[in-house]
């Protein structure tokens, strides 16, 4: 974590402690593996009488060994992966009781981590145990289990000493009692230590500290601190100040014949959230604490972190899209920014994500003082002069130096009577040229463009007055820029010379028809403020008739070209191109500046956002970063940084906000270090994308690529595979012996060549697997396809099977393979070959295509499709039929296969997919997630076999997927269905 406020020091402490002993130098280990549990897991697995082959893909092996599904992988091993899996897993408080020196050496550095573990379990075991059990390891997991148990039962010959520090009691010390108590692994270190430095987080808590412990006397029993030891720093009154673990220990001899100085670097428990990463996925709208608890259970619970998060009601939070892996810490931070609730894993390994003011820290509630006020701490302040940059997007343009003139000529077409203007004639400023007392009925304004018209009913504001006035009798601005007009109601406040007058929408429009300056307010033309159009309600201008209008705008940058004829429909995006960036100098008061943001932004916003717009400033205390929600006149959709939020709560400004309130201002602060180091994500609307002829950016989610796709094999018949029998895999067919480049699989093209194509009546279902082999290892499947063929030789969609999330898992140099199986047999005993080609990108790929590293899976692998039976009554939905009983991970449904029944027309079909809890049947409309109107093929045409979901459907783990259909035909009739899906993340 970043340091925010420089350093705090304790004064140096001197001591005369003696009689420390030390233990022999032992290689420190950092292995946190609970080996007995590992053993149990292996034993349990073997107990299921597997006969799995000996090779293991280690991440899978580890995952499965610790509680996952049975291992069925037959993949190569990778020691780095093993190390990562072991060390990256949850820490255990258990000390290492099994030395496994070879493993230790291998993992910690004794053996190059890039060394190759051969693909067999015996070899793995050999490597792991330095051959000590080699003789007894056979080529199977039972043998491995037996060997492992035997090895463990034999009693490892050495244990690693926990080497807890052996510290004299305080009473033996000869220096003054200090304020703070340092405890390591439950033992009071006494006084023989000093805190060299520490850093604090943005919320004022200590995040890491460096301690020095000294043992001035050479002694066999001198203490050492071990990595991973638990460190607690407490104050007799304030309670726990800091807790964490030892990250690094450096021992150095004080001098010849003297003791040892141990410098220990420690870190808080927040690292548990830093090292865990959440893979890209979508989180559905929910309540804050529901989502937080979900993340806790998935990422923190196994680390021994106690959850203090309440389970009660909490703010609603919108859908969240994680576009790229993000640490749990950043995930939480984002929610803190969004909602304003702080979070923390405190020194007692307790996790809290709570309302401000109730955060457990570290020994009690965070009340704004005990988190920061530490007795006997020297304050060292670091001068930093910087600026806070506040980025905002508002629904209005920034103030300009205008007004500027802008004109455009349109041409009649003989039909159109409504002509929207292509600029926003809003907020033209002028100034009063004399004082106007309360009750004045006329205003004289200067500074407007000569020739500009102030017309009846134009709207205006006078600075200092909140009331909106309307022009009674208009006028034209003279050459000196002065115009006098009446207002429909008398002034309520006195307006002095120089006061600003703001005309709002609709002001300052001039209209020239065929070169003749018309009286815009006269017949037949009228100005429609609502649509910002000039309208001829009597007759449409003739074809080619020139219609020139002129408007004045405050900023040249605000002249916008509209493309469509209806400006009203463009309002949501027409105002979104303006970013206000402001810089506020930070003073150095009390180490950070409390920028009075509320008032500042209030001025900014209210100046540029008309009153009917709504703005809400959400502010909280301590570690809460103020953010801005501005109603951008767009339907509840805003983007926050990389995330997309919807249903953002909007609250009106003013009535319930006392923006000058001191406390609110206090709360709405930006700490300089925070902003100095990190760009503040600003809200921006989804529809910032402009449209119009020519240069129109597409939404960031738009999928595109300028890279070439290739066919394997190209310009020749596809690879021929001969099925072996009903759902029996063919041998692997080599597509490419060694890929010259890393590649991305985008799909396959499969052609049935039997005698019954293209219009044969005999249905076949098939599955195809594409695999890679790395370094001669066993094939690893990267994608599975399942299709339906009644006559797929043609352009049926089952022949051209796209991967809706192309698989990015073909490394350079790998061997590319595929195999297939079909439902040959039974009634259709003819076994004929299939021809299959692959479509790939070669990397790198330019563009914006979402890919996946995971295997695309299919429903009911190796079996027929799921059967759906229609209702006996026409146009009535069938019962729900379950396609997937339970997704065991978050998944994307990428395609739906449908094998229509034979020989019957089936028009007006209707398919629906729904998601339900496991074991449940969909019962409510809101469980329906996808539906389609279609028809099953008529008698001989079969073009609807595969429905590709251009936007794959996100399904959460633990859910089931169901389908129902209806048709205009009487049932019951049955047809087959299947899906393809892909894992979202590990």
């Amino acid at each position: 974590m970043a340091s925010y406020f420089g350093k705090r020091y304790f004064g140096h402490r001197y001591f005369t402690a003696r009689y420390f002993t030390k233990i022999p130098n032992v290689v420190l280990s950092d292995i946190d593996v609970d080996l007995p549990a590992f053993q149990v897991a292996v034993a349990g697995y073997v107990g299921s009488a597997t006969t799995a082959t000996v090779a293991l893909q280690l991440p899978a092996f580890l995952s499965e060994s610790f509680g996952g599904a049975p291992i069925d992988a037959t993949l190569a091993t990778s020691l780095p992966l093993l190390r990562m899996a072991l060390l990256g897993g949850p820490p255990t408080e258990a000390t290492i009781s099994i030395p496994l020196p070879a493993l230790n050496a291998a993992l910690i550095g004794g053996v190059p981590l890039s060394s190759v573990i051969s693909a067999s379990l015996p070899a793995f075991t050999t490597f792991l145990f330095e051959g000590s059990v080699e003789a007894s390891v056979a080529a199977s997991l039972p043998a491995y289990r037996a060997a492992l148990i035997a090895y463990l039962d034999a009693g490892p010959t050495a244990t690693i000493d926990t080497r807890l520090p052996r510290i004299r009691s305080r009473s033996e010390a000869s220096f003054p009692v200090q304020y703070l108590t340092l405890t390591i692994n439950g033992e009071n270190v006494g006084d023989n230590w000093k805190l060299d430095a520490w850093t604090v987080t943005k919320d004022g808590s200590i995040e890491d500290g460096t301690f020095t412990l000294e043992d001035p006397v050479e002694s066999a029993s001198a203490f050492r601190v071990e990595k991973g030891s638990i460190v607690l720093l407490e104050h007799p009154v304030g309670g726990l100040i800091y807790g964490g673990r030892v990250k690094k220990v450096t021992d150095s001899r004080i001098g010849e014949g003297k003791g040892v100085r141990s410098t220990i670097e420690t870190g808080d428990w927040m690292f548990l959230a830093q090292r865990q990463f959440i893979d890209p996925q979508t989180f559905l709208p929910t309540e804050l604490l529901i989502r937080i608890n979900e993340i806790y259970e998935k990422y923190l619970e196994s680390s021994g972190v106690e959850n203090l998060v309440p389970s009660g009601e909490s703010p609603d939070i919108p859908e969240l899209i994680v576009d790229e892996p993000i640490s749990v810490q950043e995930f939480f931070d984002r929610h803190t920014e969004l909602i304003g609730w702080p979070w923390r894993i405190n020194g007692l390994l307790k996790f809290a994500f709570v309302e401000p003011g109730s955060l457990i820290w570290p020994g009690g509630e965070l009340n704004g003082s005990n988190a920061k006020l530490v007795p006997d701490v020297k304050w060292e302040e670091e001068e930093t002069i910087s600026y806070n940059f506040l980025y905002m997007k508002l629904a209005k343009h920034p103030a300009g130096e205008g007004p500027y003139a802008h004109s455009e000529t349109r041409f009649g077409d003989g039909v159109r009577t409504v002509f929207p203007v292509n600029v926003l004639p809003t907020e033209v400023l002028g100034e009063l040229n004399s004082d106007h007392a309360v009750g004045s009925g006329t205003l004289t304004v200067k500074g407007l463009p000569p020739g500009a018209k102030v017309r009846y009913a134009d709207e205006l504001y006078v600075s200092g007055d909140v009331r909106k006035y309307y022009v009674g009798t208009g006028g034209t601005v003279n050459d000196e820029g002065i115009v006098t007009f009446s207002i429909s109601e008398l002034l309520e406040l006195e307006a002095k010379e120089g006061a600003q007058v703001t005309f709002v929408e609709g002001a300052m429009i001039d209209l020239v028809i065929d070169g003749v300056d018309t009286d815009f307010a006269g017949d037949p033309w009228v100005w429609d403020k609502t649509t910002k159009s000039f309208v001829n309600p009597v007759a449409a201008p003739g074809i080619g008739q020139a219609i020139k209008y002129k408007a004045w705008v405050r900023s040249e940058g605000w002249v916008r070209a509209w493309e469509t004829s209806d400006p009203q429909v463009q309002l949501p995006i027409g105002w979104f191109d303006y970013t206000i960036m402001s810089a506020r100098k930070v003073d150095n008061e009390d180490h950070w500046e409390w920028v009075e943001t509320v008032g500042y932004l209030r001025d900014l916003i209210t100046k540029d956002v008309e009153s009917k717009r709504t703005v809400m400033l959400t502010t909280h205390e301590h570690g809460i970063y103020p953010f801005i929600q501005a109603d951008l006149n767009f339907p509840e959709r805003l983007i926050f940084g990389p995330y997309i939020c919807e249903k953002v709560e909007i609250a009106p400004i003013g009535a319930d906000k006392t923006l000058t309130d001191k406390e609110l201002a206090y709360n709405c602060t930006f700490r300089k270090d925070y902003f100095g180091k990190k760009e503040f994500d600003f809200w921006r609307p989804v529809s910032q994308i402009r449209w119009g002829e020519g240069e129109q950016p597409l939404p960031p989610d738009f999928q595109w690529s300028a890279s070439r796709e290739y066919v394997l094999p190209g310009e020749q018949t596809g690879f021929v595979l001969n099925p072996l029998g009903e759902w029996e895999w063919t041998d692997w067919l080599e597509v490419n012996p060694s890929m010259f480049s890393a590649a991305i699989l985008t799909g396959i093209v499969i052609e049935r060549t039997d005698a019954y194509q293209p219009y044969g009546s005999w249905t076949k279902k098939f599955e195809v697997e594409v695999a890679i082999s790395v370094d001669g290892g066993d094939p690893e499947t990267i994608a599975r396809f399942k299709g339906y063929s009644r006559d797929t030789a043609g352009g049926a969609e089952t022949g051209t099977m796209r991967l809706m999330t192309p698989v990015d898992n073909i490394p350079q140099g790998c061997r590319l393979l595929m195999r297939m199986r079909d439902s040959s047999g039974g009634f259709l005993s003819v076994i004929e070959p299939w021809e299959i080609s692959l479509q790939v990108y070669f990397k790198p790929v330019t563009g914006n295509v979402q890919t996946t590293p995971y295997v695309q899976e299919v429903s009911t692998p190796g079996e027929d499709f799921t059967v759906v039976t229609t209702n006996a009554t026409p146009n009535t939905f069938s019962a729900w039929t379950e396609i997937i009983e339970e997704f065991t991970y978050d998944a994307l449904v990428t395609a739906l296969m449908l094998g229509p029944r034979n020989f019957t027309d089936w028009n007006y079909g209707h398919i629906q997919l729904a998601i339900a809890d496991v074991g449940d049947t969909p019962s409510t409309d809101d469980q329906i997630v996808w539906e389609l109107a279609f028809s099953a093929e008529q008698e001989i045409l079969h073009n609807h076999s595969m429905f590709e979901l251009e936007n794959p459907l996100y399904v959460n783990s633990g859910k089931s997927l169901h389908i129902r259909v209806k048709s205009a035909q009487s049932g019951p009739e049955s047809f087959a269905t299947a899906i393809e899906y892909v894992r979202v993340a590990e």
Binding site: P697, Q850, E937, P952
Partner: protein
């Protein structure tokens, strides 16, 4: 990184067997508009259509979506469909390569079909409401060619022999993004086929192939012949774009293929 997935429900309007009636009034003639939504409550993205057609197919139609009040419809999207041959009014579904937006809240959305002569069609619309995340477009969809018969290409006579190059466009004023192509066979062969997309001046196309797609080719009584790119293929302004085809089966006499392309008239480079 962008996302090509969603939790937003894809919907159907109207619910079958009810459908919207879309008449055609003449080959490539503009008919009146049929209202889909009188005024949208949310942002709408059209995901596709399903329609039953009276003609036997085998030709192109342009499906158009417009926004605006009755009498002031403004064409937003035109998506070309090469209609399959059929015998008994089978319905044809098309999920667009990208859901098509550009319909702000409150707007009236209407549609029409051009290309057929004097036929009645029944159509349902698949759409999203508030498609916040996921693959989508607000650029205007417009095909090549537009509002006229599709390109006609001639297969090579021998297996895998390339056809000539056929020009899709000599260059557009602004960037556009090809999303898919569709075709109607003019002979009754059934085999694998390939397609090259290229750019460049005459004679240089073979050195400027942009992408290659394989597909299965089925003859006159075949299926919906559509090939979709994994993502839109962006074409810079002023770029001449051409295509050629080849297939696995030799023919004795030249055989034709009608082909067309759908595109989004917008740019990905400015996003």
């Amino acid at each position: 990184m962008s996302t090509r997935h969603t939790t937003t429900r894809m919907r159907v309007y109207p619910s079958p067997p009810t459908g919207l009636s879309l008449a055609t009034v003449g080959l490539w003639a503009e008919n009146t508009w049929t209202e889909i939504f009188p005024a949208t409550d949310t942002l709408v993205f059209i995901a596709g259509v399903s329609f039953a057609m009276a003609p036997t197919g085998g030709q192109a139609v342009d499906l158009q979506f417009a926004r605006g009040a009755a009498g002031e419809e403004e064409i937003v999207h035109t998506y070309r469909i090469e209609v399959i041959y059929n015998v008994n009014n089978a319905r044809q579904y098309i999920l667009f390569p990208v859901p098509l937006g550009h319909f702000p809240i409150g707007v009236r959305i209407s549609c029409r079909i051009m290309g057929f002569s004097l036929y009645a069609n029944v159509m349902n619309v698949m759409y999203y409401e508030n498609l916040v995340s996921g693959h989508k477009s607000i650029g205007d969809a417009k095909p090549f060619p537009y509002n006229e018969n599709s390109f006609s290409a001639t297969w090579g006579l021998t297996a895998w022999q390339n056809s000539d190059w056929y020009e899709i466009t000599s260059g557009e004023d602004s960037e556009f993004t090809l999303t898919d192509f569709q075709f109607v066979p003019k002979d009754n062969e059934h085999c694998a086929a390939e397609f090259d997309l290229a750019k460049g001046s005459v004679g240089t196309e073979h050195a400027n192939i942009l992408t290659t797609k394989r597909f299965l080719f089925s003859g006159l009584t075949g299926f919906n012949h559509r090939v979709v790119f994994p993502g839109g293929f962006p074409i810079p302004p002023g770029t001449r774009v051409v295509f050629r085809i080849r297939r696995a089966v030799a023919v004795l006499t030249p055989k034709l293929l009608d082909i067309s392309f759908n595109a989004i008239r917008a740019t990905v480079f400015l996003s």
